[in-house]
């Protein structure tokens, strides 16, 4: 698949024309700051923009319009990358060819334009009914994290581990900040987002470049430099001693979360070596953690490691019997120690590389993944093709993996348990 790059009114557009999919996918991404103040506001704003516009001022009108557009998906969501927020307006429609309707693309783009530029704001204030409804719903969503014990445990781990750091700021929002927001201040947040962001556009599907330009030319974006925003962390955290936190709840199974600091971020040369390490350590079905904890000792149904590379963190997470806490902790630490010492299986390395290469190839099989790939190139400024990335993975050696392991240190352990 090829990527074309052009500009419409200063806005970069990355476009991949393909007949492979039955859909056209478009993402418009607003980069802005991410901080404690903005996080909750962007979370609420995304929800408000999703649920009404001035013209389609009720959920009923919005949903029926989307049904009329052959179940088009229009969604607004916001998530962070280090100190930058990414607010995405995304559109997915079926290809006109498949339904014999020549007006769908135009109507869908007009609708997306309405969602971005015509929010339900009058006299500098968001529609009150919508505002208070969404505010209440967001409050309840935040409270309900407690009901998902795995998600709750990871949240508690990060809160304990990263006090005062940007990583501990929840992109869903927090209750204190939410309380402060009013219909007027959320309208200000909207203006701030629209006027001070860096905007870029990604499109994948069977549409001509002329048609895409034609449909986008009436979108009136304000452009700002992307250099204002910090996308990855270069901080170095020193760990004096490992923090252990336990919380008791009425649960059947204990959840163990281990938080580590790593030495690389997603823009570093080491990035792919970091991913390879994570696969080998606790990502693959044949990973060392899975083998030792599940297969050899039957201590867990699953145990996984995952990287959060923008903030240089790794999390290991498993559901265990609370009485095995010390044993599982020791098994995980022993495995990491082996990597640091260079006791690393070459077979497993090859498997991890093959798996990542496979994932990279599959990027081309899903429009959203492909849009994300184009976006990542924009963020990093590196124009790496999929095959460049594959070459990078392919060249990783045991020494590279050892170096990654040596940069990984346990910071905090959180256990949710019933005794």
């Amino acid at each position: 698949m090829e990527v074309n790059n052009f500009y419409i009114n200063d806005i970069p557009v990355y476009f991949s024309k393909t007949e492979k999919f039955k859909t056209i996918n478009l993402q418009i991404i607003f980069l802005n700051e991410f901080n404690e103040f903005l996080a909750t506001r962007l979370s609420l704003l995304s929800r408000l923009l999703n649920n009404s516009t001035k013209k389609y001022n009720t959920k009923k009108k919005i949903v029926n319009k989307l049904f009329d557009l052959y179940d088009a998906n229009v969604s607004v969501f916001s998530y962070p990358s280090y100190k930058t927020s990414l607010t995405v307006f995304s559109l997915e429609i079926v290809n006109e060819k498949n339904i014999n309707d020549k007006t769908l693309i135009n109507e869908a783009f007009l609708f997306l334009k309405e969602v971005i530029f015509n929010p339900n704001i009058s006299w500098g204030s968001f529609n009150e009914k919508e505002f208070f409804e969404e505010k209440r719903r967001l409050k309840e969503s935040i409270e309900k994290i407690y009901d998902n014990k795995n998600r709750y445990s990871i949240k508690k781990l990060i809160q304990n581990m990263c006090q005062g750091e940007i990583s501990s700021v929840s992109s869903l929002g927090n209750l204190e900040e939410l309380e402060k927001i009013t219909p007027k201040t959320i309208a200000e947040t909207y203006e701030f987002l629209i006027n001070t962001s860096n905007v870029s556009i990604y499109c994948v599907g069977d549409i001509t470049e002329e048609r895409l330009k034609e449909e986008l030319k009436n979108f009136d974006f304000k452009q700002n430099s992307k250099e204002n925003f910090q996308i990855v962390s270069n901080e170095i955290k020193k760990i004096n001693s490992v923090k252990e936190v336990k919380e008791t709840q009425n649960v059947n199974q204990s959840i163990l979360c281990m938080g580590y600091r790593t030495s690389f971020n997603s823009n570093d040369d080491d990035y792919f070596a970091g991913l390879v390490f994570s696969e080998m350590f606790g990502g693959l079905y044949t990973s060392d953690l899975f083998r030792v904890v599940r297969e050899e000792n039957s201590l867990a149904y699953s145990i996984v490691s995952q990287m959060i590379p923008d903030v240089k963190i790794m999390i290991v997470n498993a559901g265990i019997d609370g009485k095995n806490y010390d044993f599982v902790l020791k098994l995980v630490s022993d495995e990491l120690k082996k990597y640091k010492e260079g006791t690393i299986s070459n077979d497993l390395l090859e498997v991890a590389k093959a798996t990542l290469i496979n994932d990279l190839k599959e990027t081309e099989d899903d429009p959203k993944s492909y849009a994300s790939y184009m976006f990542k190139n924009y963020l990093t400024g590196l124009n790496l093709t999929i095959s460049d990335n594959i070459d990078k993975v392919d060249s990783i050696t045991i020494e590279d993996v050892k170096k990654i392991a040596q940069g990984i240190e346990l910071d905090t352990v959180f256990l949710l348990t019933n005794n």
């Binding site: 007949e19 492979k20 039955k22 009720t58 959920k59 009923k60 949903v63 029926n64 989307l66 049904f67 009329d68 557009l69 052959y70 179940d71 088009a72 998906n73 429609i93 079926v94 290809n95 498949n98 339904i99 409804e133 209440r136 719903r137 309840e140 969503s141 409270e143 309900k144 407690y146 009901d147 998902n148 709840q249 009425n250 649960v251 059947n252 199974q253 693959l284 079905y285 044949t286 599940r294 297969e295 039957s298 201590l299 867990a300 149904y301 559901g319 265990i320 019997d321 077979d347 498997v351 093959a354 798996t355 290469i357 496979n358 190839k361 599959e362 081309e364 099989d365 899903d366 429009p367």
Partner: protein, 432 residues
């Protein structure tokens, strides 16, 4: 190979039934790097009473055995694990057990032929030993304990227990910690020999494939193996009427807000080809229009601050019976569920306008076309409906020709006798 064209959705399926009874379906998707294959047996947790292969009497097996078997089938004769072998080929593998089917699958971009060979070989060569059965028990126990802390799972299982007296939809797919203790290698072999005969199985491969080449590969693999004679499988399903066992029950968990499920039991019926799928679809249209985000009822619940989040719904029908489930969170569970129940019972007289119905036809077409981008969706939904005596690729043209009369017929399922409720309360909740 038989070629079936679905012009309206621009898809093709190649189909063949081999001499040993195995059904093969190949779905070409030009331009994709990835290939997705799944090998499924028409056997899930609902079948727990049957005549084992070569025997003459019905036998009841422990709950959760289909799922246990799924876990253990990955064990190979030489002590290796099939999932590891897939991983070593750079392929991703997985398996799942549901009410009606157990499915083994893999996907990847290279080594597809090797992967396909492995898929057929490991599923068709069980290796159950006393030791490996024992070691799996601890792992499955942790899996079941994990589900016990998931409110959504507890809500579903509670509702099913209220609804069914003897029909196995009453039980969780994974069984219980107590029941899986009864599983031995002998019972696993009995289930395996009965349900993993090729004549009870389907293989689906989706991707940018050379259909002739793939078909030959499968045939060569199968011709080298010997299988006992295919026998009709005798399964015993205990029939019950639409009356629910209990109208209400509840449990307490460590959660922040009450969680409620309300359901209707769908009674036993004889269904024609494609009918289970279409009944499910009609019911989903009704529920989406009456309870979905575009409905007035949902907006009313929000306006009165009775509901938190959305009003979820699902419909399940095997080829005999099933359920409708509506679930939601509420800080005023009594009042909210009273309103939802009253509203649902009014659906006996369904009012849907022609405009609304046509809008849903468009939306479902769009939604299905979007799904066709996704190879997993294609293969897993195809196999699921295949075992429900339905062809999912025909759903769009069947819907196109259906009328409001078909929708209105669904009113008969919203009966007071068939309705039940299950609630998960926070641990220190004081109900009135």
């Amino acid at each position: 190979m038989e070629k079936i064209n679905y012009d309206n959705i621009n898809e093709v399926i190649y189909k063949e039934k081999l001499a040993n009874g195995l059904t093969i379906k190949l779905i070409p998707k030009p331009g994709y790097n990835k290939v997705f294959a799944c090998f499924g047996t028409n056997y899930g947790s609902l079948t727990n009473k049957f005549v084992p292969y070569g025997e003459s009497d019905y036998q009841e097996v422990p709950l959760g055995i289909a799922h246990f078997l799924e876990h253990k089938l990955f064990a190979m004769e030489d002590g290796t694990d099939a999932a590891n072998l897939f991983t070593e080929m750079g392929l991703e593998s997985n398996a799942y057990t549901d009410y009606m089917e157990t499915v083994y699958l893999f996907s990847g971009t290279d080594n597809i032929e090797k992967g396909l060979g492995l898929l057929l070989d490991f599923v068709q060569k069980p290796c159950f030993t006393d030791e490996n059965v024992e070691s799996e028990r601890g792992i499955i126990e942790q899996e079941l304990l994990m589900y016990l802390d998931m409110p959504r799972d507890r809500l579903h299982n509670g509702l099913m227990e209220n609804m069914f007296e003897v029909y196995p939809l009453r039980y969780d797919v994974g069984g219980t910690v107590e029941e899986i203790k009864k599983i031995t290698k002998e019972t696993l072999y009995k289930c395996y020999n009965t349900f993993y005969h090729p004549s009870n199985m389907s293989l689906i491969v989706v991707g940018d494939i050379d259909c002739d080449q793939i078909m030959n590969l499968i045939k060569n693999n199968q011709e080298k193996k010997e299988f006992p004679k295919a026998l009709d499988i005798k399964r015993n399903f205990l029939v019950e009427d639409e009356k629910v066992v209990k109208k209400f029950s509840s449990i307490k968990m460590d959660v922040s807000i009450p969680k409620i499920a309300i359901g209707f039991k769908l009674p036993f019926e004889k269904f024609a080809h494609n009918e289970p799928m279409m009944v499910e679809l009609y019911l989903k249209i009704i529920l989406e229009s009456k309870l979905g985000p575009s409905s007035e009822f949902y907006q009313m619940l929000l306006d009165e601050e009775l509901i938190s989040g959305s009003l979820g719904y699902s419909v399940f029908l095997d080829d005999k019976c099933g359920y409708i489930k509506v679930s939601f969170d509420s800080k005023k569970p009594d009042e909210c569920s009273r309103k939802v129940k009253e509203f649902l019972l009014e659906l006996r007289k369904i009012k849907l306008s022609k405009i609304e119905f046509e809008r849903f036809k468009k939306a479902i077409l769009g939604s299905f076309l979007k799904g066709l981008n996704n190879l997993e969706f294609i293969a897993s939904s195809y196999i699921e409906y295949d075992f429900k005596n339905s062809d999912i690729f025909s759903s769009i043209s069947l819907l196109e020709s259906s009328t409001l009369k078909d929708i209105k017929k669904m009113g008969k399922y919203f009966k007071a006798d068939a309705l039940t409720e299950f609630v998960v309360y926070p641990k220190d909740w004081k109900s009135n």
